[in-house]
Symmetry: D3
Subunit: 230 residues, 6 copies
């Protein structure tokens, strides 16, 4: 069964690839891997400007019990990002400033949690970014085991330890570890294409012309009128 | 039917009236037109300090399909504000930085959308304000027609092309085009009256006295006690 | 019955205790009083950095009617904090800049309201902090009586006039008046203990070791594996 | 302004057309008029088996105030259906058994309300169907005017007095009065086409073949595999 | 503190009064006690036709932990009704068929829980009614203490052990123990008055006339028009 | 990539095991497999008494597009149960009576869909059970490919084609195909144990005694008082 298990030394993607992915936006990465990988939009950053990317250390926790997050800290290393999913829905405040201090000391980049966090003023002071379902002062207990580095479903996406997770103002996206290099290449290609469009739009051109949409629109029956129909 | 139609050259309200209305707050305008016109409170600005007002260019879009927004750009001019409503509820991210770049090049003031948007960090960088139902990295397709400049229902209010739309930290309000000048006058009158109250409150007077409420309260039976009843 | 009653001159906690409590965080206070007193997490500050504490003046209001808030102003004094709860759920915008001006003139620290508020840009300008269920331009009427300084249930917690209420980025917590000094002592003790942990975590120690959790984890059956199970 | 107005003797659609439309399902009508007219899906019938259709008598009500529903009763006649929309969101219980008794005495078919209702056991006993946002024991006052038979926005759709409204287990749909006969014809045509498909499906045929979808699927690149990809 | 305490032999209201109150509807009782006492409308019966009333045995439980419900069973007697409130929000399934069997053996009338329950088909088979926030298969643990028969806040209302709680299709209402007889009398008076109105409405009279509203409406400025304004 | 792929002839669990599991309740199965496998509680049956179990045929669909459900029908056989998950959140009505007719003709047991369905009166008439996120008349298009029989995340659980899915009034649970026989055995063992408890509870015994909880409660500090503390 999946209860009370910690997997050590999971493989991560190449650090340079992870860091390069982390410089792309969540929306770009989501598009670049074929509109897959975005976590549910209810995960929001706890402070403006938050932005992070790293290799997932995954934690499965019972409702309102954060014991396994303490266990998970030891499995983290420089460049990781903690991903926490309750096994049954919870909006408790699982995470605060002390755990952030411990993770920061190990070089962890941030936290994505499908539940609540607290101490958000202190977390902003520490520059430790968190994406959570809510902010809640209701604390948790330390009584029941869970899992570290087994696969979890977090906010609608399956995440395996070592997958690349990137988060910014738009939300959170996961890239499977083995696809990281390919998705990075697709992001770069997409950004280059978008730079061209951006330049033309700034110059006042229309996407109807830049992308040649007029013919297809007409074919589907789009009608232009000079006054509104009765 | 209302599918696949673009109305060109809709009448707008007088530009000076629109700009003057845009300097009043949403709550003031809502009160000044008899407590009507406010859109549902779930529409929120994507960044702090956002504030905009303009003439509505209305777009009816299918769920998770933003093709008609591309069509609508061409109908926009200096001083307009885009209003987008899906024909069936959607929380997809219909709008991002590239469309904002195109709209900004035409002098559009902002976007009100009863659905999701993305690239919110980039939109803040561009100073292109958006009021949306949510932020979501989930993109849209370009496959099905809709309408531009036909009336839409957006977040509970009917909006016609050319109506004046103002949005700030409190939300969004619509003023029918033909009533714009009257509502502006009512806003000015209201602000003047409030300035007087404000001065008296700052000086420590009570609204009970400033507005003479004590008699009516007593008449309705308000009782003052010196300790709580058992 | 509880309709149309104002209780005057309710007892407050000692002002120094209130102010000292207000320097602790909501999460700390909640923990320090045995994980009780936190209001529902849907109450959120209307601007970043908001933080307040004071003695509760409680107001029970009908849905979409703010008349009793005007009545309550007179009962407030330096160091108070207004707590407003509708007798039936409402998301109307009960409170704005003019009422805040009046309260500020009396030294009131802020507002906690289980309903909506508006004029949030102006409230931030005034530095008058509010914790509310939502922001809404929809105003209220002044037609029906309610109560001032009778007990209310606000966002899931019972609050009596004179209780201490503290609010920050994590939410809102209430401390019964008679327990204020004891809870303050418990907060101080907790902060001291946490300062020690924080120092050890910053130095790279693990909570597993600092708090001696390893034995209990092993006893409950925690297993460490070197690769994921099939 | 739109406050305190009752419009008498609004035109209705032909009674036979209304009754014929009311025999079609909400989903069929929505499709038959080009996927328009469905109200938001949060409107739900208060008891199983509820089903109704009639000519809309529209009521605009203040939050938590049902006075105008009393006013509206007099404007109703045999074959009508009451449509109530608050001018600002409310979940109060505006409607119960006594109002239903009065409406039933006039031959009214049911109620659609973008707010709460109560006495649901008694309403089921009376066989007076209601579609509402919620069930709530919280009552309302009778203090502020509103409108009868002016256009309202109800659960995301604009409804004018005399429009045809049909409601069943799937939700609620509105058909503009002047389009009623055309939409009825489109419903009949759609039902006939569906009857043919239904017969073929019952016989075990696949929609892929009945509607010739295989070629288009292949053209878009659909691939069939005999085992899952790694 | 309020943790780990059971109060025995709490006073109940007179059994005949409780049973008589339980024959009135929740909406009637809420009105009869001055529009107070209704719990939040999100509490819904788990099966149609559910209806119950009794003396409250109150249980305060930790999130996702139902140990104290087992403790509470022993404190229940014929005519009681269990009221369960988590100290921090939870949607876990705290309650199922086995606990219902134990409560039924003691003559308990039903359960009101501000959290989830499960085994709802079996509970309907047992005719043991439950009002809950949700139905959820996610079970709970038995690890942390709570309280029995201390006051709780349940779905927005404070309930003390021995208060009368009545629940039906409209929701749940609490009547303070000492006010039970008075509220019963007010219910009876209200029902008698409503019976008169009902008879007149059935005969086709209008509430405008039965309750003489026309003058007040005219005075407030209600206008009747024969066609809609432009 | 995962777009436009159909996997044929996926392995199913033994039919007798599937049918035996389907006779156990969702809550029992969830407990029996170590409190895992339950889907989010927002999935609700569309009619009372619905109950089904079968082998999952999984469908990944775009938002508001049901084309792949048509493709999936062909992959279904006697004893299967369709599981549909959108790749981006959607509340459209993907499924109705015609698709149910086609599935019923192939012996499919029901549908679990993390989105909306419609024609619910007709589906109840057909006795084709559905568990969905909502009921919605808003239909879908047939324009974009998706997947059949690749793994999906549905309402928070990962489901692979051939896994066993059981649904009843409590919700929905998934059992991995290879664990089906073991989980069945655990269900039987659990039911036997519960039958003993049930008999003792019916006879008036307390769980405190049946399960020997009194000592542990006392040890944790549970206190019994004869009157409430001040």
């Amino acid at each position: 069964v999946d209860v009370g298990v910690v997997v050590r030394d999971v493989p991560r993607a190449d650090a340079e690839v992870v860091d390069a992915l982390a410089r792309h936006s969540v929306s770009t990465i989501h598009e670049a891997q074929g509109r897959t990988g975005a976590l549910a939009a209810y995960l929001r950053p706890i402070y403006p400007g938050a932005r992070a990317g790293g290799s997932a250390i995954t934690v499965g926790v019972p409702p309102a019990d954060n014991w396994m997050i303490h266990v998970a800290v030891e499995q983290c290393r420089e460049g990781d990002l903690l991903v926490v999913a309750p096994t049954s829905p919870s909006e408790a405040g699982y995470f605060g400033e002390l755990l952030a201090t411990a993770l920061k000391a190990r070089g962890v980049r941030g936290l994505v949690i499908d539940a609540g966090c607290r101490d958000v003023a202190e977390l902003e002071g520490l520059e430790f970014p968190v994406w959570s379902k809510c902010v809640s002062p209701f604390g948790t207990v330390k009584e029941t085991l869970g899992t570290v580095n087994l696969p979890v479903v977090c906010a609608g996406q399956r995440i395996q330890a070592g997958d690349v997770v990137v988060a910014d103002a738009d939300g959170v996206v996961v890239v499977p570890r083995r696809r990281a290099a390919d998705v990075l290449a697709a992001c770069v290609a997409r950004e280059e294409k978008e730079a061209v469009s951006r330049g033309r739009y700034e110059a006042g051109e229309l996407s109807l012309d830049v992308h040649g949409m007029r013919e297809e629109l007409a074919q589907q029956g789009l009608v232009y009128l000079d006054r509104a129909p009765e």
